[in-house]
């Protein structure tokens, strides 16, 4: 079609131009910049920065923590969002209100949510009072390695609504007849969801997982607002490293770390995407 109708390119040009100027060129420019020495004369140093960054213990710790946080958050969001979406489907029209409520934390700025969260998890906060009431010891949630717990909970609470909305949209496309037939055949709820729903919405499920995982990999501001530039080393993320490098004028290290992260994500998702199911070909 593109060979036959050359005018199509003309219509695509503004969009392509924008894509080039705002995405492709900066992306390629960034690759070049990650191979310079970061001084104002920008001397080309090839892979020196990659060696330095990967050799830096701070980078490796940040990467490791980001990976751990994402591996905790993404599956939890995925599973909880799927269960919630299935439950909401049962409510049919009445589900709209609940869906909106679930989506609300996603729409509220993190800084506002954090204030509530810090009050809840403060040393004298509601959570610690509950723990004491149950006979336990107070926990320094906000100023120790235990910060990981409120951060993960906050992240899940904030982002689950968005995944539920995507799942709900996908679930609505599954024909009811399939469930009726399965029920007649004696399939229970678990079997219906795992044998019918999940295979049919696998591409969407993949998208939800990818988004949840990539976003969880970027957990930063929640920790930064509470723990500052140098929080407890259990919650020091890759973005802390990048942020601190930026403040120290090590822009080349920021870029290098960013491209290293991009390559890791790309490789992982390429591996996942290699599965035919997630591409929807089985449908």
């Amino acid at each position: 079609m593109f060979h036959r109708k050359k005018s199509l390119w003309l219509f695509l040009l503004p969009g392509l131009l924008g894509l080039m100027v705002f995405y492709v060129v900066p992306f390629l420019g960034g690759i070049y910049f990650s191979m310079t020495d970061g001084t104002i004369s920008n001397r080309f140093v090839l892979f020196d920065n990659y060696k330095q960054v990967w050799g830096n213990a701070g980078f490796r710790l940040g990467l490791q923590n980001s990976l751990v946080l994402s591996l905790i958050c993404a599956p939890v969001i995925f599973i909880c969002a799927f269960i919630l979406a299935v439950m909401l489907r049962a409510l049919k029209e009445k589900s709209i209100g609940f869906r909106n409520v679930l989506l609300m934390p996603y729409l509220v700025p993190s800084a506002a949510l954090l204030i509530v969260w810090m009050i809840l998890f403060d040393y004298g906060g509601v959570i610690n009072r509950a723990i004491v009431a149950l006979g336990g010891q107070r926990v320094l949630w906000l100023d120790s390695g235990a910060l990981r717990v409120p951060v993960v909970l906050l992240y899940i609470w904030k982002n689950i609504g968005f995944s539920v909305v995507i799942f709900s949209a996908a679930l609505s496309s599954v024909p009811d007849a399939l469930y009726e037939f399965a029920m007649l055949e004696g399939a229970g709820p678990f079997q219906r969801e795992t044998k019918i729903t999940l295979p049919l919405i696998l591409p969407t499920a993949f998208l939800v997982f990818v988004l949840a995982w990539v976003n969880a990999f970027k957990i930063f501001k929640e920790v930064y607002f509470i723990g500052g530039a140098y929080p407890h080393d259990a919650v020091y993320t890759l973005q802390h490293y990048m942020n601190n490098m930026f403040a120290q004028l090590n822009y080349h290290h920021v870029t290098t770390a960013a491209y290293s992260f991009a390559v890791i994500v790309f490789v992982l998702f390429a591996a996942l995407y290699a599965s035919k199911g997630v591409r929807g070909l089985d449908r």
Partner: protein, 772 residues
């Protein structure tokens, strides 16, 4: 024979034809003369380009002279103090000089002589419009405001006044007939006139300011008709609004209007186009809207304003190219001297710009947005190392002047500005502060000044236990929260010790744990302020009562050489603390309190450096380098001695005789006032005079030396155990909000000391990991 003679004549002719040009080149392109601070009240351009100044007496200047010449002082016999106040304004109308005594409301024609003047018959003016009052404590004082400008034109004295109302200042213009005097005729103008100057056809040129609420104020020009007292607008002045400046002059030969601003003189042509025509050195007087701009017979411009008399060519074509922009510093005497040596190149100080981080500054340097050529940074305020490493500072190693200056400094100071053998930043100033104490309250307490951190804790404990009632008028330590201050002090003293040795501190050190534990164990309940925050009024009164009590131990003993000189002299009564209710308290002399972190170790003094660097992307690299070189050559000796270890001799006061004379004259003026006063006023003036005389007798010998060798030696002893505070050291971590939160947790008992040390150590380890 004829041919050689003709050749010689031709050669002579040729030489003569070049002579005017050569002579013209000899005249300096620009000339700056310092006007002493005590001089400035007014200036008047008289005949042949002479200037007459009034201030503390009358001063004069003729073209060709390089300083102002004192004509008469109010203390001289020729000054009739019955007829004339100390503060007068001088005015000129062509060949006639006038003297306006605005305090007494008299205008006199004045004949100036080489050493003195004679006054003609004066006229009385009703200047009640200038009367004002001010409140000092419960007393209300009446005084007469000096007019902003006084101008005599065609037999009329024009005054522009600024009066301070309860909410705002208001400007007004009035005129008097100088023959009859009497009441003024107020000019009912619908705009605010700021300056007047003679204009064509007998009219006056007015600089007006429309103060619009929604936009920045805008200057305009108008013609004031003396007959109708009405303004005819000429259009926008075309100059930026600046608080300083305001000189206005008209050149009938070229039909040009000249206007002076803060650092530029502008020329407006008949077509209304305004261009910069001369640059002037900015002043640091915050002088307001003042200045006297006049044209010399040679066509050159003469600007007189506080601190400065500047002679310039008023030709836009002759302006020097380039402009230097400086970030991180402000105009002072060192910069002024430097600017004057820069052959008229304008220098702009980015005094309203602030870059909080190296990243922000780096962006500004590279983008060229603010055209920064030279920047000054404090070593502990910003990440100097990153800026140097990333190439944001020009390599100055090839400058012999700058290298010689840097080589002469303390090695640690020199190293701060160097990277891999390259000189990238030039140290120009050092400052330091330490703890101190006041002698009288310390003696009254009967306690010994502490020497280390543990002794300080004991000191506070003893005060809390035994002296709370006995010495309730004092606060033992300058602190809002004693425990918090002690914790912070423990951390910083411990860090200072390691920083001086060039080693990073460790939080998991048993001694640090002991220090923090001791800080936490000090019972400060009796000395801590008891404020009931539930009652705002009582809380406010309680807080005020706390701040009205003098501190025994302070944190602001300055290591500045001038301060050290005065502090170590320990002459006179020492420090007197004044309170709002007018009462005073004698604190005695301030002593340094060098605290070490533990017994047997010397106290460490952190120093801060100010360094100068040049932006490698500057468009005026040569001028910037020349400026930097000139600046280090003009650094005052009191500043240099703090960074140069070889300057150990006392620093004498070059103006000793002048300063002594000024002080003596002030005393004589006081004595005269005492003589003429009566009753209670005389008693009060006599008391003030006696105090001043005692002060003079005590300190007059100190005037000769600005910094004693003893003060320099004291400073050197402190520097022996010091380190340069830099950004990125432990202070960065201490200033981090997260550490402050940890400290609060520790203080509130929410976190055991062991956990605090573990969490803090973790943060420090993260910093180190990033920097590996």
């Amino acid at each position: 024979m004829r041919k050689p003679l003709t050749a010689v004549l031709l050669a002579l002719l040729l030489a003569c034809s070049f002579l005017p040009a050569a002579l013209a080149q000899e005249a300096p392109a620009s000339l700056d003369i310092t006007v002493p601070e005590e001089v400035w009240m007014s200036a008047a351009a008289w005949h042949d380009g002479q200037m007459v100044f009034s201030g503390s007496g009358i001063w004069a200047w003729r073209p060709g002279e390089d300083s102002l010449r004192p004509v008469i002082s109010p203390l001289d016999e020729g000054w009739d103090s019955d007829a004339l106040s100390f503060n007068v304004l001088v005015l000129a109308d062509g060949e006639t000089l006038y003297c306006l005594d605005y305090t007494k409301g008299m205008l006199f024609p004045m004949t100036l002589q080489e050493k003195g003047f004679t006054l003609g018959e004066g006229v009385s003016l009703d200047l009640s419009a200038l009367a004002s009052t001010s409140r000092f404590g419960d007393e209300e004082h009446s005084y007469v405001e000096a007019p902003q400008q006084a101008l005599i034109h065609q037999g009329q004295l024009y005054l522009i006044t600024q009066t301070h109302g309860p909410m705002q200042m208001s400007w007004s213009a009035m005129k008097f007939d100088i023959k009859t005097g009497g009441a003024p005729q107020k000019l009912s103008l619908d705009v605010s006139v700021r300056q007047l100057a003679p204009y064509k056809d007998g009219s006056l040129l007015a600089l007006t300011l429309a103060e619009k609420q929604e936009t920045a104020p805008e200057f305009s020009l108008a013609v004031l008709s003396p007959d109708t007292d009405s303004l005819t607008p000429l259009g926008a002045a075309g100059i930026p609004y600046e608080y300083e400046g305001g000189g206005l002059a008209y050149d009938p030969a070229g039909d040009y209007i000249y206007l002076s601003g803060k650092d530029t003189i502008y020329r407006r042509d008949a077509q209304g186009e305004t261009l910069p025509c001369a640059y002037i050195t900015p002043t640091n007087m915050g002088s307001g809207f003042s200045g006297m701009l006049s044209l010399l017979p040679s066509g050159r411009l003469l600007l007189a304003r506080p601190q400065q008399l500047a002679l310039r060519d008023g030709d836009p074509a002759g302006l020097p190219t380039g402009r230097l922009t400086i970030y991180g510093s402000y105009i002072d005497d060192t910069h002024k001297k430097t600017i004057q040596a820069m052959n008229g190149i304008p220098v702009n100080f980015l005094d309203r710009q602030y870059f909080a981080t190296a990243q922000q500054l780096g962006q500004a340097l590279v983008s060229g947005e603010d055209d920064i050529d030279i920047f000054f940074l404090r070593s502990d305020a910003i990440d100097l190392t990153s800026l140097m490493k990333k190439g944001y500072c020009l390599d100055l190693t090839d400058s012999a002047v700058l290298m010689a200056h840097t080589d002469s400094l303390y090695p640690a100071m020199k190293e701060t500005g160097m990277l891999e053998g390259q000189l990238l930043m030039v140290p120009v100033e050092a400052e330091g502060q330490m703890m101190g104490y006041y002698s009288k309250p310390m003696e009254a307490s009967g306690l010994t000044p502490p020497e280390n951190f543990f002794q300080l804790c004991d000191f506070l404990q003893q005060w809390n236990d035994n002296l709370t009632e006995q010495a309730s008028e004092f606060i033992p330590l300058q602190a809002d929260n004693f425990s918090k201050t002690l914790l912070n002090l423990a951390l910083s003293l411990f860090n200072d010790h390691y920083a001086a040795r060039g080693e990073p501190m460790q939080f998991n050190d048993p001694l640090l744990k002991d220090m923090l534990a001791r800080a936490l164990s000090v019972d400060t309940r009796n000395i801590s302020p008891k404020v009931d925050w539930s009652n705002p009024q009582e809380a406010s009164a309680a807080v005020n009562s706390i701040y009205n009590r003098p501190n025994v131990i302070t944190s602001h003993f300055s290591l500045d050489l001038r301060s050290l000189h005065h502090t170590l002299n320990r002459k006179g009564r020492g420090t007197t603390m004044g309170f709002e209710d007018g009462s005073t308290y004698e604190l005695g002399h301030e002593y340094a309190l060098p605290l070490s972190y533990k017994e047997g170790e010397p106290a460490v003094t952190p120093l801060r450096l100010t360094l100068m660097a040049i932006n490698p992307r500057s468009k005026n690299l040569d001028a910037a380098k020349k400026y930097a070189e000139t600046l280090v050559q003009n650094l005052p000796d009191t500043t240099l001695a703090m960074i140069n270890p070889s300057m150990n001799a006392e620093l004498v006061n070059p103006n000793y005789q002048r300063d002594l004379k000024t002080w003596q004259e002030a005393l004589q003026r006081m004595a005269k006032s005492v003589e003429t006063a009566e009753g209670a006023e005389k008693t009060e003036l006599q008391r003030q005079y006696d105090e001043s005389l005692e002060s003079f007798e005590t300190y007059k010998d100190d005037l000769r030396v600005r910094v004693s060798a003893q003060a320099i030696q004291y400073y050197r002893d402190r520097v022996e155990n010091s380190y340069i505070k830099t950004w990125g050291g432990m202070d960065t971590l201490f200033n981090d909000e997260a550490i402050a939160k940890l400290l609060n947790r520790l203080l509130q008992g929410q976190m055991p000391l062991e956990q605090f040390l573990k969490e803090a150590e973790g943060k420090m380890r993260l910093m180190q990991l990033e920097r590996e």
